[in-house]
């Protein structure tokens, strides 16, 4: 009896893995096609757009840039100056010092001639207490508002910023990101363009600045990072941003806007209660909640995406930092999907419920677990002697080729769309990385993802516990290089 059950389970698992492999392939093919169509339309539209008008037009919406900072004393002044020099008419920069333990606030006060004000702070979204709100005596910095508050994590800091913001649109960014001068004008466009639907949020591409030349807030010369981990992330970003998000935008199914660079309608963010501070995936969670709000009320809406390179950041090239980042990403995904499980396969939520949510559940959240199960399944087959080398090799080759072809496509896609990496040596390095990735990087990514699942099960950073450890990068660096940070 038990033997029969065992063989039945193995048979069923075999069929499930077979169909999973099929669905992975079909999904990637669809993503390739949809993203190519969306990129074609975007490039056509961009040929005729004149962004100069937005800068001064009274019809363009105002933008509040929210930049949370935690222990950023080394670069904060330069970063704020860069933000203040963006080309746009109606904008304010709200810098939220989230209880930094270093001299971030002092540096800001002295560099921008700040004084504490009697700002009547209204807590529309609950957040940690505000110690003071600063403005500059110098009119040159009148766009700058600095909030000093108790530490509460990134989402909490952003909620404080939302409470203070006075403009129609919110630009939530990481303070250490490099923003192109035209970043606001280009990101604002989708909000202004739509006629039949309300654009609730717009996401942007995060470019990789490692090893690149930066001048006046823009990457002027692209080079691939020096390490394999860095180069892998270039390919991964091409796949995720240029292909994945463009494809989801095509069908209005985008569920994630990067926390490092995203624009939102302020009134709607307040209506849904702002960022949820008890999850590590606050960026995805907010977008899903905003979408749910619109779906529940049957209001036509859109989450847009701008693929132009407008924002750059340095990605981690050390395994320790990258592993923590991936662990956090997977936990954020699990938390968000758990919080909003009501939408899964629910036709009331349209495409989000029937396609986006299942996709995220299977191909993002469960991917590391399924890969582990696949490995265990193969091992069991070998042990019981029911292992077909032909099936195994065929599937292995198919999936390896799939991985390489998708990576090649994403590199080509970048080349056709933007052609940033002009040096042929860089291209060769990227192609070599695509060959090596499935063996040298992917197993690690799966392992780190499994760690995220394990940590979630253990309750680390779930919404049961308040996260008070500051920001991602700082947190990671602190764990790895405590002496460097203290010095």
């Amino acid at each position: 009896m038990y033997s029969f059950l065992f063989y039945l389970i193995m048979e069923v698992l075999g069929i499930i893995f077979l169909f999973l492999s099929l669905s992975v392939i079909v999904t990637y093919l669809l993503i390739m096609i949809l993203s190519a169509l969306e990129m074609r339309d975007h490039r056509r539209k961009n040929r005729f757009a004149d962004y100069q008008d937005i800068i001064t037009s009274p019809i363009a919406p105002g933008v509040s840039i929210l930049a949370p900072a935690y222990n950023e004393e080394e670069s904060i002044v330069q970063n704020v100056k860069s933000l203040l020099s963006l080309h746009y008419g109606k904008f304010e920069v709200i810098l939220i010092n989230d209880g930094s333990k270093d001299d971030t606030l002092i540096k800001l006060i002295t560099s921008f001639e700040l004084e504490i004000t009697d700002f009547a702070y209204c807590e529309e979204i609950p957040a940690q207490p505000v110690r003071g709100i600063y403005k500059s005596k110098n009119r040159s910095f009148n766009r700058l508002v600095v909030i000093d508050k108790e530490n509460g994590g990134k989402a909490d800091a952003l909620n404080t910023g939302i409470n203070v913001a006075s403009n129609e649109l919110l630009a939530c960014i990481d303070v250490d990101c490099i923003l192109s001068h035209e970043s606001i004008t280009k990101m604002v466009r989708p909000f202004m363009e739509e006629t039949h639907r309300k654009v609730i949020a717009v996401g942007g591409v995060i470019g990789i600045a490692n090893n690149c030349d930066v001048q006046d807030g823009t990457v002027t010369k692209y080079r691939v990072p020096k390490t394999l981990l860095g180069r892998f992330q270039v390919i991964e970003y091409c796949r995720a941003f240029l292909m994945g998000r463009m494809a989801w935008t095509r069908v209005n199914g985008l569920m994630l806007i990067s926390g490092a660079f995203g624009f939102f309608k302020r009134d709607l963010v307040i209506e849904v209660g702002g960022y949820f501070p008890k999850t590590v995936g606050e960026d995805m969670e907010l977008v899903v909640r905003m979408r749910r709000y619109m779906e529940d009320r049957n209001i036509a809406y859109k989450v847009a995406f701008v693929p132009d390179p407008l924002c750059w950041t340095e990605v981690p090239e050390q395994e320790e930092i990258l592993s923590k980042q991936r662990n956090r990403w997977i936990r954020g995904t699990i938390e968000t999907l758990q919080l909003h499980k009501v939408i899964g396969l629910n036709s009331n939520y349209g495409l989000m419920g029937l396609v986006s949510y299942p996709y995220w559940s299977i191909f993002e959240k469960m991917a590391p677990v399924l890969e582990l199960l696949g490995l265990l399944y193969t091992l069991i087959l070998i042990i019981i002697g029911d292992f077909s080398a032909f099936y195994f090799i065929t599937l292995f080759v198919v999936l390896y080729l799939l991985s390489i072809l998708v990576s090649f496509f994403s590199i080509l896609y970048e080349q056709v769309s933007f052609n940033n990496y002009k040096d042929k040596k860089d291209l060769k390095k990227l192609i070599l990385t695509a060959f090596l990735e499935p063996f040298m990087i992917h197993p690690k990514i799966v392992y780190w993802g499994l760690g995220g699942h394990w940590d979630f099960i253990k309750g680390k950073g779930g919404w049961g516990n308040m996260i008070r450890t500051g920001f991602k990068k700082s947190e990671d660096l602190k764990n790895i290089e405590p002496n460097k940070l203290n010095s």
Binding site: L29, K45, I59, A120, T195
Partner: protein
């Protein structure tokens, strides 16, 4: 049951099989006499009672020896799991065992003296075509092969397409820079060394020396030339602009532009519209007018902008009749043109107020505000009572922006609205254009403990309208919100926040 299912085509082959096979699980034999009585151990000398005979050859030998020794006739009986069964049932049972692979048939020794054909006739029959479909019979491998084929075909096709695009892009880039180099010199020469009259009097032959006819037939060359002329036209003024427009027509680029307006691809149509607009091709206006109500957002936007820009007679009535909602992007583009044209001709901006399309009416109110059309304010006040709250908000913003205090009644009525957004806008405007009555209404609203944001707006306006009343509120109420707002309003650093 077909031959495929029954392993033995006839009884002879089954008996032969039993002889060859020896012991078969679950199958035993016994010997019975003509009355069906089982032979006892004492007669046969073999223990038959319980187990039966395991081997068919042994049973046969025993039967023969009984006949030879005792002249007794006996029959072999088939026992399936100790139960007596018929020959046919036994044959079926053994067939099943064979089919399921539970027993492996023993192959008869090839050196038994029989020829190959007779040996072959002992092999189980199986139809030849079935082996052809065995491959497809295994659905897993079929799916895998299907996936591989599908994936490879599509993925390779897409990568191949991308490579073509990339190669085309590189080729275009090279040609662009090559043609650009060829164009810059003759273009500069014509612009800076020839007058407009000289340019117009040039023969085709002379013109072709600078811009060869062969090259002009090449689409990329034409595109580079067009883009160059358009870019220069944006930057230059006066006679240079006229020369560029004259050259555009002399090179027949205007005909190419008008052709683009008839294209099925929306991006080509938009490009044509941009060129018509930039080069003032008024002869193309009829064609442009066809696109004013295009369902494509980009085509429609550019067509409206072009008509506004080029038509000397057109006012905004054609915009009034548009059915598509007007986006802010379109409003921004039209505003730039209307701002420029408004000083030179009457655009009948007030015609927009009577549009059936709310977004166009709202745009009309915004135009009054941005262009400072004070003479249209009375018309707006007249409409105020019969319009939606959304439109009221836009009109109040206009009244506030233009700062004409005669519209206080409209503001005061709106302050009593149940729509909080309208009350907020009215309260804000009251600070600029309200009267004593507005101050009293604000005072009353403050008594009803409104939300924080509205409270702040109300207090700010009240302070502007009547400082005495404002102080009364602050002194009378020790509510921490009011005190905090008071401090905020008094802080010089927060005057613009």
């Amino acid at each position: 049951m077909g031959q495929e299912e029954l392993a033995f085509p006839d009884s002879i082959s089954f008996v032969d099989f039993l002889k060859n096979q020896g012991e078969i699980p679950g199958l035993q034999y016994s010997l019975v006499d003509s009355y069906g009585k089982i032979f006892l151990d004492s007669i046969t000398g073999i223990p038959l009672k319980n187990k039966g005979i395991a081997d068919f050859t042994t049973a046969l030998a025993l039967r023969d020896s009984l006949f030879l020794s005792y002249s007794v006739y006996s029959k072999i009986q088939f026992l399936l799991y100790s139960e007596v069964n018929t020959f046919e049932a036994t044959q079926e049972y053994v067939s099943n065992l064979l089919r399921n692979g539970d027993i492996n048939p023993k192959i008869a020794n090839i050196s038994n003296g029989k020829d190959l054909i007779s040996l072959a006739s002992r092999e189980r029959y199986s139809p030849l075509p079935s082996s052809l479909f065995a491959f497809f019979g295994d659905f897993k491998i079929f799916i895998i092969i299907g996936i591989i084929a599908l994936f490879f075909l599509i993925a390779l096709a897409m990568i191949f397409l991308m490579l073509i695009f990339k190669a085309q892009g590189n080729r275009r880039e090279k040609l662009f820079s090559l043609y650009d180099e060829q164009i810059v010199e003759p273009l500069s020469e014509i612009l800076f060394e020839k007058s407009l009259q000289e340019l117009e009097s040039l023969t085709d032959g002379e013109l072709n020396k600078s811009f060869p006819a062969k090259q002009l037939n090449k689409p990329i060359y034409r595109q580079v030339l067009t883009e160059r002329i358009l870019a220069l036209n944006k930057k230059m003024k006066g006679e240079f602009k006229l020369k560029l427009k004259a050259l555009y027509k002399r090179l027949n680029l205007d005909k190419v532009t008008i052709e683009k307006l008839k294209s099925k691809r929306w991006d080509r149509v938009v490009m044509g519209l941009v060129e018509v607009n930039e080069m003032d091709l008024k002869e193309a206006l009829n064609e442009v007018n066809k696109h004013v109500n295009s369902p494509n957002f980009h085509v429609r936007s550019q067509a409206v902008a072009t008509v506004l820009n080029l038509s000397e007679t057109a006012d905004l009535s054609f915009l009034r009749d548009q059915t598509f909602p007007l986006s802010r992007w379109q409003q921004m583009n039209y505003l730039r043109i209307i701002k420029y044209l408004n000083s030179s001709r009457d655009l009948h901006i007030n015609s927009l107020f009577s549009s059936h399309n709310q977004s166009i009416r709202l745009f009309g109110y915004k135009l009054v505000r941005i262009l400072g059309l004070v003479e249209l304010l009375a018309e707006l006040e007249e409409k105020f009572k019969v319009i939606s709250d959304e439109e009221k908000i836009e009109i109040i913003k206009t009244f506030e922006y233009l700062g004409v205090p005669v519209h206080a009644e409209v503001i005061n009525d709106s302050l009593k609205s149940e729509n909080i957004e309208l009350v907020c806008i009215a309260a804000k405007a009251a600070g600029e254009i309200g009267d004593l009555k507005s101050a009293n209404i604000i005072y009353e609203i403050l008594d009803n403990a409104p939300g924080f944001r509205l409270k702040m707006i109300l207090l700010k306006s009240l302070r502007n309208l009547n400082e005495e009343l404002y102080n009364q509120v602050i002194i009378k109420d020790s509510n921490s919100d009011l005190q905090r707002i008071n401090k905020h309003l008094l802080d010089p650093l927060l005057q613009d926040v």
